[in-house]
Amino acid sequence: MTLPADKKKISIVCFSGDFDKMVAAFTIATGAAATNREVTLFFTFWGLNALKKKKGRIATGKSLMARAFNFLMGGMNNLPLSRLNFFGASPKLMTMMMKKHNVATLPELVEAAHALGVRIVACEMAMHILEVDRSDMIEEVQDVAGVATFLNDSEDAHIIFI
């Protein structure tokens, strides 16, 4: 996709993988993309969980450690609230509250981000450590990249770390 040279750019590093922080990342990403900015979401470490194709708890990977980590962390449906998680009950309660107040839920924000052409990039190193393959991730992942590529792509962008 060719873009005008003066287009404003935002890169968001999705590190934490917390439910509420992922809502914040996707809210900023969709808001920025809808106001004509070029947006990249770079998922690393715990953030990778949000990109897994299987949204529940699946033992992905080859080694015992990686399989245990991936099973315990789960996917998009298991993202914990950064505070008051109450063993996973709070994200579900929070989603109910969001719906009650007509605020877009996380799946709705993710769908909007894809529709708006937000670029999704997965961190190669984190994938390597956690033994998550590209085939384990959603099709919307456009690139698997390292920090040098991310920094090059984000040279004239605002970088937000969530």
């Binding site: 809210t27 969709t30 808001g31 993309a33 809808a34 106001t35 004509n36 107040h101 007509n102 605020v103 877009a104 709705e108 909007a112 529709a115 708006l116």
Partner: protein, 74 residues
Amino acid sequence: MMKHFLDITRETCPMTFVKVKLKLARMDAGEQLEVLLNPGEPLENVPRSCEEQGYKVLSNEPTDDNKHLLLIEK
């Protein structure tokens, strides 16, 4: 000419201008979009973000029930 309609009075930020943007993206150049929106954040952001992207805001009228009707041309 084809005229589209979008009611974003039950949406909140950022879906107010996200839905307008996605609707406009699916329209052809020259088509018009009527948007029903609330005063406050949507009224500030929707016309501005449309104009920033080169769309024409043809009219912006308050309705009888304290909402606003915006007419945008792609």
